[in-house]
Amino acid sequence: MTALPPIPLLDVLEPASREALRAALVLHRFAPGDAIVTAGATDQSLYILLSGSATVVVGGLVITTLGEGALVGEMSFFEPFPDRSADVVAQTAVAAAGLERSSYAALCGASPVAAAGLERLVLGRLAARLAETNAQISELVTAPPVGILERLRRRMGWG
């Protein structure tokens, strides 16, 4: 099995918890264009992106691009009835550390401090993402529409 590289995201955990969590992670590699998670799927793996980038696509629209240190699949990870909400597609070659739901359950028993650290990490990330999404919505609702011709004028330097 390939050893995991250092994961800076986990530096917030104290060493014993960090090692317990690392021991539960498995290295995955994705080629450009590979689906890391697929909308509607019911699997429950969580991934930490170690290198490369991936796009998050909802309803055919690219919502955001994720890079090193991003979490993927964390929204469904704790759901009682998981249902992936978005496609996450590797934009470049991606290396990711994956955690299975069953490994998290084992971690809760073996190292509750590490499990609590993971939960705090996920909750913090999701709260930040919700704030970011709400800010994008506010911007769309309040910004005046800019016409296509105006965009063309700006891009081409017309008048």
Partner: protein
């Protein structure tokens, strides 16, 4: 199982929790009863999170009611977690019973506590915030498409005005 534990069991992510965990978590909440009154107003400090036990809360922003939340909803947790002021006001529509956890208690449990009730609360909030993100993402896609439509209309308008 007491009333608070029964209400907590209805929350997404807590259906499978053991009774003793729900009882212990329930004790960390206060109960508040109110009728046709503001729970908090937009811009207020985010000093608590709420679980609606009975009744309905209207969510108000900029004087408009955006939505109404019913029993089993967790609300006010994003502000309580981030420390940001309330992004929306909450008002009891008729009679409502709320389970209230102060932001100070929530921070203690979520940030420092290693226990089954603390883990249960973290997971319930993760599920709740995750579902809000799903709804917000769908709204974002809808609004983006509407904005594109507006662009096309604006382009046509501008094209009609060209010489």
């Amino acid at each position: 199982m007491d009333g608070r534990a029964t209400i907590l069991r209805a929350l997404p992510g807590l259906q499978e929790e053991p009774v003793d965990v729900l009882l212990a978590l329930g004790q960390r909440f206060e109960v508040s009863l109110l009728r046709d009154a503001w729970v908090c107003r937009q811009g207020d400090p985010s000093d608590a999170l709420y679980v609606i036990a009975e009744g309905y809360l209207g969510v108000y922003r900029g004087g408009r009611r955006l939505t109404v939340l019913g029993p089993g909803s967790v609300v006010g947790h994003v502000g309580a977690l981030s420390g940001a002021p309330r992004s929306a006001g909450l008002r009891a529509e008729g009679a409502a019973a709320l389970m209230v956890m102060s932001a100070v208690v929530a921070a203690e449990i979520l940030e420092a506590e290693v226990s089954a009730p603390a883990s249960a609360l973290r997971r319930a909030l993760i599920v709740s915030v995750g579902r809000q993100i799903r709804e917000a993402s769908r709204a974002l896609v809808r609004l983006s498409r509407q904005a594109e439509d507006v662009d096309v209309e604006a382009a046509l308008e501008e094209a009609r005005g060209l010489p």
